[in-house]
Amino acid sequence: MKISELLGTDPGWIITVKALFIFVLCVLLTLVAIWGERRLVARMQQRLGPNRVGPFGLVQGLADGVKLALKEDLIPKAADRIVFVIAPIISVTACFLAFAVIPMTGVVNLFGHETAMQLTDIPVGVLYILAAASFGVYGIVLAGWSSGSTYPLLGGLRSSAQVISYEVAMGLSLVAVFIYSGSMSTSAIVEAQHDWWFAVVLFPSFVIYMISMVGETNRAPFDLAEAEGELVGGFHTEYSSLKFALFFLAEYVNIIGVSALATTLFLGGYHALPGLTFTEQWWGGWFTMIWFLAKVIAFFFIFVWLRGTLPRLRYDQFMKFGWKVLIPVSLLWILIVATLRVLSQQNTSRAVTLAFASGVVVLILAGTSLYERSQKKSKAENAIGDIPQPSFPVPQIPSQRAEQLHG
């Protein structure tokens, strides 16, 4: 029986239990994620990180949450009161919505009812996630606008421009997945990766998705919306207490959400690593959830790693990278994937497919070598010639020093 048919037989109370489970899982993962991020970043910076509250500082997130809730809740005088209150609610609602279509286990037994841990399975599941994400942007934009001050407005505009442009790249990277799996439903995409993960088959799409998911969640090195050196706190500068906590929660649930989507689309979802498929039967199928969570946490680790490693980009460089590199590259890649798909569907001989693939490779190699040659040429043209040295000593220009060293 297909997953979508299986989910169709769920009684109301099972659906309620699942929805509750998703909510609790997201909040718990957020608490653990905050702790994990702080500890990991601390380790990367030769510090210890939070280690006082609870064992290994594990409940630090909870303590911070309680503290945040007890803070004074301010609404600035210049703020648009209604929109100011609605904005964080929109943000949080939208980020939880995406989880409804994420398959977390295979077929399992939940309180005596055979089902899968997935709230619903719709034929346009992945598009639905994109829709939820684009709805979530409203939270950010409205928060920025309704605060009635300049920095939040700029931060809100920045982050929404960022989310919209990186959503284009993300959507394009997903197209290759749709073409290959022949479906937009999450469970069907997971099933289509039975033999090979799409991270291997569609490696360029995977890379583009990874980059654009960092861009879309406003995280370092793409966290220009809350660049504290430029914009104080970005769109949530004026928020305090629980409203700020909601934005915080939304940010982390969003990160977990895009990680879960990446797991589903590219890393085989809840399936075990190749060679360990026997583990999928353990605990009556519930062990698949361990695999799912492990993959999601691996993605989260990458987020933290990026934050600990890379400096923040400049805004114009970042937008240029999105529109002039990511989108054209993914369009080209879609063309290649679609052609290969049609060739394989029409049962053309292997020679034609190979010829096409090698043609693409030759074209790419030719393009890159031409580019490198032109770079070299412009470098040679722009090299600094002999300029009279001033009367006082100045450090040598690096290119000249290199010439001297190499004779």
Partner: protein
């Protein structure tokens, strides 16, 4: 149309509950969109109307249409609109003075005309035809049947519309793109110019005032390592005004202090 469907029993109860809950909300927010004073509020209400429409589509089995409605209209179009509204006069309310003569009358006539046309067309298309759910019509599925229609029967219209949109986008880019009469002197250009100049003396930037001097005031020139003052360390404006203090003054003081 919907009451007809209700009477014929084609609408399931949950859908009817959903409809009677959301439809008044949608109508109210549509009215609010017209009556609210702030432009951003009315844009928000319009976005909400679009979301309720999407929910109606989904309730009537047009899943793909509903979700695309949210992605395209609520997510992209309305968001861009909101963007412009926020950038251009956040709090400015529309002035109600007519600048073109008879604009109001013409606009009302045109609006009534378009409304009448839409109502008559839709009623003609719907009347005398039994209501059939999408589920009964589609065998292969929502996405597939739309794709088949779009890329076979309506492929010409589809291509024409896409050409139109691309032309519009190009036109907007051409209109918005202006070549500056003078190239902007950016940080990078300045840095290149420093190294390509006649001498490397200023490659590291000009000396700042007061270096090696007893005073670091902006009007005291820096001293070069050999003890001579460097007038280039003083701002050109101060130099032109003649507001430069001789650094020799402070040198003397230094010697006196040493003697003491």
């Amino acid at each position: 149309m919907i009451t007809l469907a209700l009477e014929s029993g084609a609408t399931a109860t949950p859908e009817a509950v959903l409809f009677w809950f959301l439809a008044p909300l949608a109508v109210l927010s549509a009215l609010g969109m017209l009556l609210v004073k702030k432009a951003v509020h009315s844009a928000l209400l319009l976005a909400w109307v679009m979301v309720t429409l999407a929910i109606f589509y989904i309730a009537q089995d047009a899943l793909f249409l509903g979700i695309v409605q949210v992605v395209v209209y609520t997510g992209a179009v309305m968001m861009l609109f909101l963007f412009i509204l926020m950038l251009v006069g956040v709090d400015s309310s529309d002035s109600l003075v007519e600048t073109i003569k008879g604009q109001r009358a013409t606009a009302i006539t045109a609006a009534v005309g378009v409304g009448g046309l839409l109502i008559s067309l839709i009623s003609r298309a719907v009347q005398a035809k039994p209501a059939v759910g999408l589920k009964d019509l589609e065998i292969v599925g929502n996405v597939q049947s739309i794709a088949t229609e779009l890329f076979t029967k309506y492929v010409w219209a589809f291509e024409v519309v896409s050409a139109l949109l691309i032309t519009a986008a190009l036109g907007a880019m051409v209109l918005a793109h202006s070549q500056k009469p003078i190239a902007r002197n950016l940080q990078r250009d300045k840095s290149i110019a420093r190294f390509r100049g006649a001498s490397l003396a200023t490659a590291a930037g000009l000396p700042s005032s007061g270096v090696y001097s007893r005073h670091n005031a902006v009007d005291v020139p820096a001293l070069l390592p050999d003890g001579t003052p460097a007038p280039s360390s003083i701002s050109a404006t101060l130099n032109a005004r003649g507001n430069m203090i001789d650094s020799k003054l402070f040198e003397l003081e230094l010697k006196e202090e040493e003697e003491n």
